[in-house]
């Protein structure tokens, strides 16, 4: 028989409201402000509704109107509907609308299911520890809400029930998390905005591009060295190589990919593992000159390490660096010519400077040294706050304003060097990094983004020159905080006097690193490694599925057995009496449930005449303790226990 679903009571309404609220809290920072406001409004309405302070919306029409408006507004906001961000926005709005229109318990339950989905959805934006904690709270609330919808009870009890449920469920989660086969790669086409919002170096460099990146304190990657760290002057993390210049912007040139490094590998070696934050592009970061021993990445002819797929999730690489190795001595002619090309008519003063040096000196190394000397003498100021530059930005920087950031330095240097006839290219990447003393990882942030140049000579191949170091040498030794003038407003975390804050931050980031490595970065590869460390060699998907099934099955059976165990009587006197009756039952005399102790003793004594005295004594003592006026004390119980233990029946 189908019964209509009962209507929600105010307490259940409050449970639903708080669940939706906590579920949407982590979403709110990613939702458009107007949508967050609408959600807050709807939640508030529901709250007053349950307080009896306002009226329910007229059935259907108003809500339908709001729903259509929200969907239309989301479509306008994001300019499309199919995708991660608009999808989450619409779901968030629907959760609030569903909450507001919920009248029956059944409605409330659908709202809770929607909340579960949204709780998972927030990990599309952020998987950090605080979000995870908030989500856990949201799940506990959602389960408590289901309990409230099922039977209700005082809030504390429902919350206790939900947390108890989650505690018991934790082993399931752990087992499934470790064992469930991780399938790499998307199952279907991902919306194009799936990986939006990732920061990092871009593929091009124009004035201001790195300066903007540097303001972010986000971590770009972490490196962990087996053995000593390379000196600070060698910590140049090489990223995109740019060799085509159009007067304003540097772009990458054409290069081919190969599986083997195009350079010789000799000299001292640093081995390290690098955990790269996703940036949705192909390049990887590595110290010069790189080798990726067992990876599936490729080497470009301009010495970059690139990934076959865009880096869309945090990845860990085992890398080697050969700082003394030499590369590119036998570059083909077209590469040389490309790295000498300059757009005609742009930055004429730097062109003239370069040609002047070329006229005075013949050997390329001498020309480079002369250029570095010129840069030093020019008294350039290293600053984040650059004045506006005109069309010929490099000229304006070098000769007029003399204030710039690393991309200005690198660009100006490369233009002058090319004009001087030295093949030169711009390299972007990161420089430096900071050692977290707690877990020994070198943390490199977006604020460590840097640009430098490489000059070529037939004898020594490509060599790194850092024009920034010429005018602000402390940038390389002390990091950006030491190099920038005091007047520049540094982000709070970079200010030197906040030392205690940094320690706190290190601690937090060490935890974050472990979290990233072991929880968020747990993929098929880690799974295989982890299980083989435990001694299980995993052949394929089938093995994992079987292991998952066996473990989950064991847990379920374990739970069942736990439920089936005979409940222990809480009263010690009852337990003793049960033991006595059990002993007699084994001997063939079962006590009918209705029979009292004295009557039973009489019957049992008749069947076991030899023990009749003890049986009577036990039954009388039990009856006295059970039904007598005084509460049984410890000594009496012990005596009864002894009697029962000594009772022997044929």
């Amino acid at each position: 028989m189908r019964r209509p679903s009962p209507t929600l009571n105010p307490a259940q309404g409050h449970w639903l409201t708080i669940t939706v609220l906590v579920t949407l809290l982590p979403h709110s920072q990613h939702l458009p402000a107007w949508l967050s406001a609408i959600c807050a409004l709807l939640l508030g309405w529901r709250f007053t509704l349950d307080r009896g302070a306002s009226r329910a919306p007229a059935k259907g029409i108003l809500l339908l109107l709001v729903a259509v408006t929200v969907v239309a507004a989301v479509a306008v906001e994001y300019r499309h509907l199919m995708g991660k961000d608009p999808g989450l926005a619409v779901l968030a709005a629907f959760a609030c609308l569903k909450l507001l229109e919920s009248r029956s318990v059944r409605d409330g339950r659908s709202a809770v299911l929607l909340c579960f989905f949204l709780q998972m959805g927030q990990f599309l934006n952020d998987q950090a520890i605080p979000v995870a904690v908030l989500t856990l709270l949201g799940i506990a609330l959602a389960l408590a809400t289901l309990a409230a919808l099922e039977g209700g009870g005082p809030p504390r009890l429902l919350m206790k029930r939900a947390t108890g449920l989650l505690t018991t469920a934790a082993p399931f989660m752990l087992a499934l998390f470790v064992l469930f086969p991780r399938i790499q790669g998307p199952l279907w086409g991902l919306p194009h905005d799936a990986f939006s919002g990732m920061t990092g170096l871009s593929d091009t460099m124009s004035p201001g591009s790195i300066g903007n990146l540097v303001r972010s304190g986000e971590i770009a990657f972490r490196a962990q060295f087996d053995g000593p760290l390379p000196p600070t002057q060698q910590r140049y993390w090489r990223g995109p190589v740019l060799s085509v210049f159009d007067g304003t912007t540097w772009r990458p040139g054409f290069s081919t990919l190969s599986r083997t490094p195009p350079h010789s590998l000799s000299g001292p070696t640093y081995r390290y593992s690098l955990t790269l934050e996703p940036h949705n592009l192909h390049w990887l970061l590595a110290l010069d000159l790189p080798r990726h021993p067992d990876g599936n990445s490729r080497y470009t002819t301009d010495l970059q390490l690139v990934s076959v797929d865009p880096v869309r999730e945090r990845r860990r690489y085992q890398l080697e660096a050969y700082p003394a190795a030499i590369a590119g001595q036998s570059e083909p002619g077209h590469v040389i010519r490309r790295n000498l090309r300059l757009p005609e008519g742009r930055n004429p003063r730097l062109l003239a400077l370069g040609r002047d040096i070329a006229g005075r000196l013949t050997s390329p190394p001498d020309r480079v040294s002369a250029l570095i000397e010129t840069f030093r003498r020019q008294d350039l100021q290293y600053t984040l706050t650059t004045p506006r530059l005109g069309a010929d930005a490099a000229d304006a920087f070098f000769f007029d304003t003399r204030q710039g950031f690393c991309e200005h330095f690198a660009s100006a240097f490369a233009i002058a060097a090319r004009a001087a006839g030295v093949p030169t290219r711009v390299v972007t990447g990161y420089q430096g990094g900071e050692l977290n003393p707690l877990d020994g990882t070198l943390v490199v942030r977006q604020s460590d983004a840097h640009a430098w140049v490489e000059v070529w000579s037939a004898t020594r191949g490509w060599q790194r020159v850092d024009p920034t170091a010429a005018s602000a040498p402390t940038r390389i030794d002390n990091g950006i905080a030491g190099a920038l003038p005091d007047s520049d407003a540094l982000p709070l975390f970079m200010q030197p006097r906040m030392a205690w804050l940094r320690t706190l931050q290190w601690r937090w980031e060490a935890i974050g690193n472990a979290w990233n490595q072991w929880v968020i970065g747990y993929n098929d590869e880690r799974q295989r490694n982890f299980l083989s460390e435990l001694g299980f060699e995993i052949g394929g998907l089938g093995d994992l599925l079987i292991a998952t099934g066996i473990t989950a099955g064991t847990l379920i059976v374990g739970l069942l057995l736990w439920a089936l165990r005979t409940p222990r009587r809480s009263d010690p006197l009852d337990r003793l009496w049960d033991r006595f009756c059990g002993k007699l039952a084994v001997a063939g005399t079962e006590r009918p449930r209705w029979m009292g102790p004295v009557a039973f003793a009489a019957e049992a004594a008749m069947r076991h005449p030899r023990a009749s005295g003890t049986i009577h004594a036990i039954a009388r003592r039990y009856a006295r303790l059970r039904y007598g006026p005084a509460a049984p004390d410890r000594r009496e119980l012990d005596r009864l226990s002894n009697d029962i233990r000594r009772l022997t029946l044929k």
Partner: protein, 328 residues
């Protein structure tokens, strides 16, 4: 065999084999694990579908924490199934008593459940098939008395159909249930005709057709209590003063008059059920005013008498008149 004919037999087989329903099982009944059944509810299925979608999304976007949340909820689902099962396990039905009723009303089935464990049992529901469930909880190591209304639609012996004890505790994702067939049986008396038609005139009655509450109620004395005396007539104050021995108050006045309710004296045009209805109404009326009455049915005759036992015997005869199960 055509499907329609096969269905009841399949049903019977399922009831006997799978659900282990016995015709009438002796009390106490303990709910062992083999007679508790669990299946997901509609909400449970929707929950599973949501989790599956979440799993797919986690795979697609390689969301480690998405997996974690999904698996945590999978675990919560399993644990809630286990808790549903445990909520019913080892409950004992120790007593089942069905009250007599008049046809057309509800007979009260009083059940006593015992929870032998130290864990409270919450959100239990018991219902006869097709009726509204009665909700109750049992505290730790406690008993609960539940009254289930059993609709009495036909006169004669009433046995409750199989009872369902079920729970959706704790989250409503899973329904756990067990079938009970306690040996409870009660008589359903014919529906008393309303309003009560005038009592039949009778030669033995001093004031035919008039029965006042006063007049007959003259206190005449005490005699020793005999089984069958109405509790209303027991001299409770005396019993409280003197202890064990009970005395019954005897009244004069009504003593002399008596009524005779005769099936054959009823108007000829009445059908069987109407006759029984009218006779039942008279019996109740007479019993209420402690007037001795006699009853004559085609297959039953009882001389005028008073007392609860007499009333019960007459009502029983009326309830079972012409029923095949009259002899049981």
């Amino acid at each position: 065999m055509p499907m329609a004919a096969a269905r009841p037999r399949i049903r019977q087989w399922l009831d006997a084999r799978l659900f282990r329903i016995r015709p009438r099982e002796p009390l106490p009944v303990r709910l062992g694990h083999r007679r508790i059944f669990v299946l997901p509810t509609g909400l449970g299925l929707a929950f599973a579908a949501t989790l599956f979608t979440m799993l797919l999304a986690s795979m697609n976007y390689a969301l480690s924490l998405g997996y974690a949340v999904t698996f945590l909820l999978v675990g919560a689902g399993f644990v809630s199934l286990h808790q549903t099962f445990r909520n019913l396990l080892a409950i004992e039905l120790v007593s089942a008593r069905l009250d007599t009723a008049f046809c057309g009303s509800d007979a009260a089935l009083e059940l006593v459940f015992v929870n032998p464990s130290g864990r409270p049992r919450q959100g239990l529901e018991v219902s006869e098939r097709g009726s509204l469930p009665v909700r109750f909880d049992i505290g730790p190591e406690a008993a609960a008395r539940v009254v289930v209304p059993i609709p009495a639609q036909r006169r004669g012996w009433l046995e409750p159909r199989r009872l369902t004890l079920e729970t959706r505790f704790p989250l409503g994702l899973v329904r756990g249930w067990s079938y009970l067939t306690p040996p409870a049986r009660a008589l359903v008396y014919p529906r008393p005709e309303a309003p009560v038609p005038p009592l039949p005139a009778d030669s033995e009655t001093r004031h035919p057709g008039t029965l006042g509450e006063s007049g007959e109620e003259d206190f005449a004395g005490l005699r020793e209590y005999r089984q069958g005396d109405s509790p209303r007539r027991i001299a409770w104050k005396l019993a409280a003063r003197h202890g064990a021995q009970l005395h019954t108050k005897v009244f004069a006045g009504g003593q002399a008059s008596s009524l005779q309710f005769d099936w054959h004296a009823l108007p000829a045009g009445l059908d069987v059920e109407t006759r029984l209805s009218r006779l039942t109404a008279w019996v109740i009326q007479a019993a209420g005013s402690h007037v001795p009455f006699g009853l004559r049915l085609p297959d039953f005759e009882c001389p005028p008498a008073r007392g609860q036992r007499h009333v019960d015997a007459c009502l029983k005869a009326l309830a079972l008149h012409g029923r095949p199960d009259a002899k049981t």
